[in-house]
């Protein structure tokens, strides 16, 4: 994917949105528990990424680890977004109005379960087990050491198990 982006950014970018977009959106959706926020962050992440990639030279494309890099942008935007919730996207796509908020199974239940985790645990568990990233990629994305990430995941999962047992 990085090779085709380097060769033809405009031509390859829509395919990047299609391939990484679902995991990015649903990861952010589970972290925030909010469709609108996840949608805003997903769009803004790709728009920032597109602008940044336009300035990349060959060497930076070669060393680019696309998924952790996109998630780094998304999580930084998410932190600022919480501070500035009134910010709206510049464009509103008309077809988007009235589209039913999509849900995965037990969506509301998962939102409730995740509130029992700390922000770091929630991010680490979602990136590892929902998005499917490796420990080293999560460490790169969050800027936390691998050992800490592993501990966040371990404690987060234990916490989720406990919450789910209490549901029954």
């Amino acid at each position: 994917m990085t090779r085709s982006l380097a060769a033809d950014l405009d031509g390859a970018f829509p395919a990047l949105v299609q391939s990484v977009g679902p995991r990015l959106y649903w990861g952010l959706r589970r972290m925030s528990g909010d469709h609108q926020e996840a949608e805003d962050l997903t769009q803004e992440t790709f728009i920032r990424a597109y602008r940044a990639l336009g300035d990349f030279d060959r060497a930076r494309f070669d060393e680019l680890r696309l998924v952790p890099w996109l998630w780094t942008i998304a999580l930084n935007l998410g932190r600022n977004h919480l501070r500035n919730r009134s910010r709206r996207p510049t464009f509103v796509e008309m077809a988007d109005h009235g589209v039913e908020d999509q849900e995965t199974p037990d969506s509301k239940a998962w939102d409730k379960r995740f509130t029992a985790l700390s922000a770091n645990q929630r991010t680490a568990v979602i990136l590892r087990h929902a998005v499917g990233m490796g420990i080293n990629e999560i460490s790169e994305t969050t800027g936390r050491p691998e050992g800490t990430v592993k501990a966040d995941i371990h404690r987060g999962l234990s916490r989720l198990k406990l919450v789910m047992e209490q549901e029954q």
Binding site: W26, T90, A95, D96, A130, L157
Partner: protein, 252 residues
């Protein structure tokens, strides 16, 4: 089912609208919406830099846009910062606060289009005037082709630009009858322009103030009819002791 595999099922498809929002936000496509205008419904296209084109809302406008701009279109709301100015700009025939994306034009074309945007409603100027205002007095022909390819007719009012002999000239947005209708709508009498062009009248002077103007300049239109003197050239006006109007700058 263990918790890890339940978590792995939390990913679904990308909700509708997100990919489109990215395409618009990156400028890989332009947005468009439909607006009323004095010549019928028009398509206004836009991106983050401003309004990129105006075309009649007739069959094939998407195809025409993609041939001219090398991009496709998505129906969208314009950026909230300036989108509400679009109807006013169409009605007034001037960009006002509306940003216009002229990045597809050469610097000279951009300069000519900005000069055209300054022509007041109810008045017209010849190609030669725009060339002179741009300090390129020999470029009247280039001005003509810039007007013919104006990407944002109505908003940049190329309908207020006429041939150097004062006749109405061509119009890109649906043909010359639309130019005629627009000028009439704005209070210019196109038949009068044709008549003056037929009489080779280029400027008109006020015998009382000794100032000469373009025939549609508000200064000369305010003059009493018995004071108005026709001239076939600016040189003749000057040799008769008249000086050029500071408002419409008809040249020496």
């Amino acid at each position: 089912m263990n918790i890890e595999s339940q978590l792995s099922q939390l990913i679904a498809g990308l909700p509708e609208g997100i990919a489109e929002g990215v395409a618009l936000g990156t400028g890989l496509v332009d947005g468009y919406d439909l607006y009323p205008s004095p010549v019928g419904e028009v398509v206004v296209t836009f991106n983050l830099d401003g309004v990129s084109s105006v075309d009649l809302a007739t069959d094939g406008f998407e195809q025409r846009f993609s041939e001219r701009h090398g991009k496709s279109l998505l129906r969208a709301e314009p950026p909230s910062l300036w989108g509400t100015h679009i109807p006013d700009a169409i009605e007034a025939g001037t960009p006002g606060k509306l940003p216009i994306d002229l990045s597809s034009r050469t610097p000279f074309q951009g300069q000519i289009l900005r000069i055209a945007a300054s022509i007041p409603r109810g008045e017209v100027r010849p190609y030669s005037w725009l060339a002179r205002e741009a300090s390129r007095p020999g470029a009247a022909r280039a001005v003509g082709s810039t007007m013919a390819r104006n990407p944002v007719p109505l908003i940049i009012p190329c309908h207020r630009v006429v041939r150097s002999d004062g006749s109405i000239g061509e119009y890109s947005l649906g043909g010359v009858h639309n130019k005629w209708d627009l000028l009439t709508y704005e209070g210019v009498q196109p038949a009068r322009l044709v008549e003056l062009a037929g009489q080779h009248v280029r400027v008109q002077g006020n015998a009382s103030t000794r100032i000469y103007c373009h025939p549609t300049c508000r200064e000369i239109r305010r003059s009493k009819p018995e004071h108005v003197v026709d001239f076939t050239s600016t040189a003749r006006a000057r040799s008769a002791g008249f000086r050029p109007c500071e408002h419409c700058r008809p040249g020496d």
